[in-house]
């Protein structure tokens, strides 16, 4: 083991997309990028992943939408978003002002809507990749409906595949019996990469008021509480498919990210940590670099997937 004379190389490649490092935000925790510009140099991120976009604007769920739980939080935002038209007119301009790759997360209520949003996004030059959300646990139509049955998932993936030329990342839900079956189904249907996991469906109870804490009843659990489950599922997916996997779930610090990379994730998404600490991703990138440098590892690709 020796110390490096130059900083370790952090560049990774996912389905043809070149990232300067493997760290990006998880959709829904980073707005459309602009919200975090006072706290974080957006240029230093591997990529920016937007809030999920749908064809029409979406109001989302009633309040309360949040509940804190031990080492985690439940959210039931319900995919509130501005819709594809407003995204193209109001949000793209800011993203044009930076050079970081942009991954647009999107969803539909029906198969036709998925196809239409994908078609519209493929016309936007600034979109470097798309992330197909078939895993939001907080809406009845769309999202999870497409993400829990392998045949349905395959149908939406192959339909969207035909519409987009940029890399297609499919975001998987952990709320299934066997995530490996889902992973293989979307790979066979043409996905270029997989991101996992989305939140775990959960619930919180208010004893004093004798009611559920979230107006929606259930919500998605995120934060450090879910990291062990996420590691297990990412490990399973990595060993079931040959396309790259982006690891997500409770990453709060560089060591957490390095664990996901070690088990074979090509990149990671940071979610809840952004809400607690808006500068979290900068600290994680710096921490990864320091960790590799201290161990004399010159290239992050010599760390990824090297679990003994």
């Amino acid at each position: 083991m020796h110390r490096l004379s130059t900083p370790p190389k952090l560049e990774v490649e996912i389905a043809g997309l070149h990232l300067k490092n493997p760290v990006m935000p998880a959709s829904g925790t980073f707005g459309y990028g602009e919200e975090f510009s006072p706290y974080l140099e957006l240029e230093q991120l591997g990529a920016i992943v937007t809030k999920g976009i749908s064809l029409a604007p979406k109001a989302g769920n009633p309040m309360p939408r949040l509940a804190e739980t031990p080492a985690g939080m439940l959210n039931a935002i319900g995919l509130q978003n501005v819709g594809i038209d407003a995204f193209c007119t109001q949000k793209i301009d800011f993203l044009n002002s930076i050079s970081t790759p942009v991954i647009v997360n999107f969803f539909g209520n029906t198969l036709e809507e998925y196809i239409e949003v994908a078609r519209r996004l493929s016309e936007v030059e600034r979109v470097d990749a798309v992330e197909l959300n078939i895993s939001c646990p907080n809406v009845k139509a769309g999202g999870i409906v497409f993400g829990t049955d392998p045949a349905t998932a395959a149908r939406v993936v192959s339909a969207v595949r035909r519409e987009v030329q940029v890399p297609l990342i499919v975001k998987l839900s952990p709320n299934v019996t066997d995530i490996r079956v889902m992973a293989r189904a979307v790979e066979d249907a043409g996905a270029d990469a997989i991101s996992c996991i989305n939140t775990l469906t959960g619930m919180a109870v208010d004893l004093e008021r004798r009611c559920l804490r979230l107006a929606n009843g259930t919500g998605g659990l995120s934060g450090p509480a879910i990291k062990p489950v996420a590691l297990r599922m990412v490990h399973q997916v990595v060993n079931s498919v040959s396309i790259p996997v982006i690891g997500i779930g409770g990453i709060m610090c560089a060591e957490d990210a390095l664990e996901f990379l070690l088990i074979g994730a090509r990149a990671v998404q940071v979610g809840t940590a952004n809400l607690v600490n808006p500068g979290a991703m900068a600290e994680i990138i710096a921490g990864i670099e320091r960790f590799l440098a201290q161990r004399g590892i010159a290239d992050i690709n010599a760390w990824i997937g090297t679990l003994k």
Binding site: G60, P64, L66, Q80, T272, V276, N277
Partner: protein, 302 residues
């Protein structure tokens, strides 16, 4: 807006269940505007995970001539300029986070993110003059009104504070307002201090007396609804400061939204309490006739 780890200067109990925490906060006296808030990370580690939002009660600067406690003297001396900027947050113990917070002491560290959000808008009326200002506070809702009063008094505006609470123990900071020369009126639900009525009754009486007023209110949602109805009837302008549970405080999580005036399911208009608020012109919000809160449940669960 800044995010830093900083030091607690003091954490005093004001009344049973209420505390005042002084926190070293460089540049806040210049940066913070009345009605803005901070997100505090009260403990390192993952439980509790989220920061908590707190209104800024006031800001100040200590110097070498008046450093106060030993901790403060140390921090003043360390500073190159020989000064120590700080903020005070006044909080009520209502849940796990604030219970933990009450046990913190001078010298302990907290994560401080802020100042955040849009504060009160202080502007002269069309004629260039300032109407008399009526500040309505319910319980802990008095917190963001103090800096507002300071600024209004500084501009020569007549300021009146109407402060309501359940009981005398829920009436805070009265002496501080009186020290500014603000005329104060108190009501309690049980009559243990001031008049036995809601603060909204005080508001009705006040607006009969002075018709050209602007009203600023912060308190529980039912109080804000009643205040708003009174202000609509009296045709006076109203700004409200809302409380909400928040995860991020910077407009990303969408967990603290309230419905805007033009909101509909087809054309959602949600406003983030943290970013577009916490202070809103009452006309910006959708107030439902049946009395539900703009955000349906804007109760601060800290």
């Amino acid at each position: 807006m800044k995010d830093s780890i900083t030091t607690i200067l003091y954490n005093r109990q004001l009344a049973p269940g209420y505390y005042c925490m002084g926190i070293a906060a460089p540049e806040y006296p210049q940066l913070a505007r009345p009605g803005q808030f901070v997100m505090l990370r009260i403990k390192q580690g993952y439980d509790p995970l989220l920061r908590r939002p707190f209104g800024i009660f006031r800001t100040g600067t200590l110097g070498l001539s008046n450093p106060g406690t030993a901790i403060q003297e140390e921090l003043v001396t360390q500073d190159g300029m020989g000064t120590l900027d700080y903020i005070e947050v006044v909080y009520k113990v209502v849940g796990r986070g604030t219970r933990l917070m009450a046990h913190l002491a001078a010298g302990d560290e907290v994560g401080l993110l802020g100042p955040l959000g849009q504060g009160f808008c202080i502007s002269p009326d069309a004629g260039g003059a300032m109407h008399d200002a009526v500040l309505v506070g319910g319980g802990i809702g008095v917190v963001p009104l103090f800096m507002l009063a300071q600024q209004l008094v500084g501009r020569g505006v007549n300021v009146r504070l109407l402060l309501g609470g359940r009981s005398s123990g829920d009436i805070l900071a009265l002496a501080e307002f009186e020290g500014l020369g603000v005329e104060t009126f108190v009501s309690t639900d049980d009559g243990s201090l001031g008049e036995k009525c809601f603060s909204t009754q005080l508001l009705k009486d006040t607006l009969q007396e002075i018709s050209a007023a602007q009203v600023f209110a912060c308190g529980p949602t039912p109080m804000l609804h009643a205040v708003r109805q009174i202000c609509v009837a009296a045709k006076v302008e109203l700004q409200v400061s809302l409380e909400a549970m928040m995860a991020c405080g910077v407009g990303a999580c969408l967990g603290c939204v309230v419905k805007g005036r033009n909101h509909s399911e087809q054309h959602p208009e949600y406003l983030c309490t943290c970013k577009q608020g916490p202070v809103f012109d009452a006309r910006e919000l959708a107030w439902t006739p049946e009395g539900a809160a703009p955000g349906e449940d804007s109760i601060c669960i800290v």
